[in-house]
């Protein structure tokens, strides 16, 4: 004598599954994917870093110190030098030796020269806090503003890699987001139209999608980016690159949406809605698009890291964003050849770690959302 309960998982039965909104069911299911949950917080953290970059970065992005090129990442010690400055975080100063033959600099930490690192310290670099007021307080900064302070090393111009990676977060993370929003609009509109109306509309949209998919994206991006006039300002180039990325990036989304719409439009409930006399627009919006959510979310979260990677690659090749704009790809330009990577591995390691943390978390997040966004189907394990 079994009662038919529908596809509600055993452990949820008798609770509130029937009354809960699909959003809260999705959230409940998403929380089980631990890796995705951790990734969500990392992504939130990365965007917070982007928003508060001015506070976190001890130095402005372009600030350089010609006395300290290519300093390796600095070690921070907790100690009390016993001169009244008290217990705290300290970094060492350096003594330099220049090799007469190769002109390479060799740094040795000077054990007697200690610089205290203070929290919410005055850094001597003014900035606008979120556009509200001017301050020079940083999250942490050396007590003596001119002291060498290169947590993650410095580049060949003596610029602080840590600060630059923090500022790079702003450009790299926003380019992915804006680009995806643009391609989302194009992809959903074209994909849904193709899948729903079929016939000539479908054929034309399919051909256009196919055309864009047939072109290898990196060479095409390279060609189009190379066509951007160099005399344009940094902001214009930034937007041009974003538009380029989304113009080519929408295709997989459109294809995905079209395929799902084709399947969904013959589902019983969609046919029923049509027979009830619902308008085409209503059928698409109320009955088909909600069924696509999981796929759209999966594609979008996949597309953001793909765009970040594309920007990074383009800038690395020197065809994307140009200095003085700071993005992770621009930073990686310094690690252009194997010689510089061998002399200063941190030029490669630090920015690419930032890229990998961001893209990996976004990919895990997307995977978790994809599994969760369809709370009624599939076995929950």
């Amino acid at each position: 004598m079994t009662t038919i309960e529908g596809p509600i998982p055993e452990e949820d039965r008798g609770k509130d599954t029937g009354q809960k909104s699909s959003a809260s069911l999705t959230w409940r299911r998403f929380k089980r994917h631990k890796l995705a949950l951790v990734s969500l917080w990392i992504i939130v953290g990365v965007y917070l870093i982007a928003i508060f970059a001015d506070v976190i970065a001890p130095r402005p992005a372009g600030d350089y110190n010609p006395d300290y090129p290519l300093i390796p990442p600095q070690s921070v010690t907790i100690t009390d030098p016993g001169d009244g400055r008290g217990m705290g975080f300290y970094v060492h100063g350096y003594t330099q030796e220049i090799d007469e033959v190769s002109w390479n600099r060799y740094y040795t930490e000077d054990p007697d020269e200690l610089h205290k690192v203070e929290f919410f310290a005055s850094s001597g670099h003014d900035y606008q806090f979120l556009g509200l007021f001017t301050t020079d307080r940083k999250l942490f900064a050396p007590e003596d503003a001119d002291a060498p302070f290169f947590l993650l090393g410095s580049d060949s111009n003596g610029r602080d890699i840590f600060s630059r990676v923090i500022y790079g977060t702003q450009v790299s993370m926003s380019i992915g987001l804006i680009g995806v929003v643009l391609s989302l609009v194009i992809g959903i509109a074209l994909g849904a139209a193709a899948g729903f109306f079929r016939g000539v509309v479908d054929t034309v949209i399919q051909r256009i999608t196919e055309l864009f998919m047939s072109l290898p994206s990196i060479p095409l991006w390279m060609a189009l980016a190379a066509a951007i006039p160099r005399e344009w300002g940094p902001l214009t180039i930034y937007f041009a690159i974003t538009v380029l990325l989304s113009l080519i990036g929408w295709t997989s989304l459109a294809r995905e949406v079209r395929g799902r719409v084709l399947t969904l439009r013959s589902e019983d409930y969609v046919v029923a809605a049509r027979l009830d006399g619902a308008s085409r627009f209503r059928v698409i919006r109320r009955h088909i698009l909600p069924g696509l959510t999981s796929h759209i979310i999966a594609s979008v979260t996949l597309a953001v890291p793909a765009m970040i990677l594309a920007e990074t690659s383009l800038s690395f090749l020197g065809l994307g964003l140009q200095p003085p704009v700071v993005s992770w790809g621009v930073l990686l330009q310094e690690a252009q050849n194997i010689r510089s990577v061998i002399t200063a591995p941190w030029l490669l390691i630090v920015p690419s770690t930032a890229v990998v943390i961001a893209t990996l978390s976004l990919n895990f997040l997307g995977d978790g959302l994809r599994d969760a966004a369809d709370p009624y189907g599939g076995a929950v394990k």
Binding site: R207, S214, A226, L317, V341, L360
Partner: protein
């Protein structure tokens, strides 16, 4: 099937035509026409082109005529004489440059493609069957790493490791002793050895996507009633797996395989540039940086055409594997 094939080929010709227009506009994009660039370059070298030479060149590329005439001249040259234009950086016909570099590109991209399919298919099935096992997490994580690390970073890391720990300098397709050697078995083996790592680096980017697709589709199929029914009939698990759900889950795989080609070509361009392999990648990059547009546009056209051929093959495979696709495209439904 024949009807479908013809339709599909027809569409791909149209696609190639559209690609050629895109490439033509990219050639035209930089300011100034090709001949004025050539004149400027000649002056830089201290030479002067005679007025007669300039006129011949202008006529050759139909520069005094509207853009569609120029486009037609360009395409006509390619179709009839296989003439892709002139590369002023190389001071050679673009065709020569392309022919020199294309074979290794095809070799490298082909190798990377086969690696991608093989790895993705094997891991995709494994992770779908052993869902949520330690192996699933491990391979899924590995795939995600491949997806998230930029190709060029992998290439640089590889070069760094080879140098720092093994004292080797990486780059090029042949070891020093084979660069000038005649073709022999040893030289081919050397080439394969040198291709393996770049191919693997390129493959990392494409596999993760395909693994996800295979895993997702196969997982959806594995819970279907027909699988349960087959299992209830007492079929052995391995036979059952390959006979039903894997075949059903193959469709998205086959249809995606073709579209992995552009990503492989993209990866090839970057990885080859970093590892300085003698393939189209570094040449295309150099051409774009120097606005050597006929060469750049021609490379783009050829890479695009190669991709279209790849996708056509994968679509035909899909139609061959799934009768529903054939019927849908010939309008037999509804």
């Amino acid at each position: 099937m024949l009807q479908y094939t013809i339709r599909r080929l027809g569409w791909s010709l149209l696609t190639i035509w559209l690609i050629s227009i895109v490439c033509f506009f990219i050639i035209q994009a930089p300011p100034g026409d090709f001949v004025s660039v050539l004149i400027a370059q000649a002056e830089e070298d201290g030479r002067r082109l005679s007025a007669a030479q300039i006129d011949v060149l202008r006529e050759r590329y139909a520069l005094d005529q509207p853009w569609y005439a120029q486009y037609f001249t360009w395409i006509w040259g390619i179709l009839t004489e296989f003439d892709f234009g002139y590369s002023f950086r190389w001071n050679r016909p673009a065709t020569d440059v392309i022919m020199e570099y294309l074979p290794f590109t095809i070799l490298l991209a082909g190798g990377a493609m086969i690696l991608t399919w093989f790895i993705a298919f094997a891991i995709g099935i494994y992770t779908a069957v052993k869902r949520y096992s330690a192996g699933d997490y491990f391979f899924t994580f590995l795939g995600f790493i491949g997806l998230s690390v930029p190709n060029f970073v992998l290439a640089l890391v590889f070069m760094y490791i080879a140098f720092a720990f093994f004292g080797m300098t990486v780059g090029g397709l042949f070891s020093p002793e084979y660069v000038e050697a005649d073709w022999s078995v040893a030289r081919v083996l050397d080439l394969v050895q040198n291709l393996a790592v770049p191919a693997l680096i390129i493959a990392t980017a494409g596999t993760a996507g395909l693994i996800r697709i295979t895993r997702a589709n196969l997982s959806d199929e594995l819970v279907q009633p027909y699988v349960v029914a087959a299992r209830a009939r007492g079929q052995r698990e391995n036979v059952l797996l390959l006979r039903y759900p894997v075949r059903a889950a193959m469709n998205p795989f086959i249809s995606t395989v073709g579209y992995a080609i552009p990503s492989v070509i993209s990866g090839e361009v970057i990885v080859s540039s970093v590892l300085s392999l003698p393939t189209t990648g570094p040449v295309l990059l150099g051409a774009l940086r120097n606005q050597d547009m006929y060469l750049a546009g021609s490379f783009l056209l050829i890479l695009g055409v190669l991709t279209v051929i790849g996708t056509v093959i994968s679509d035909l495979l899909l139609a061959w594997a799934d009768p529903r696709v054939r019927r849908q495209h010939s309008g037999a439904t509804e």
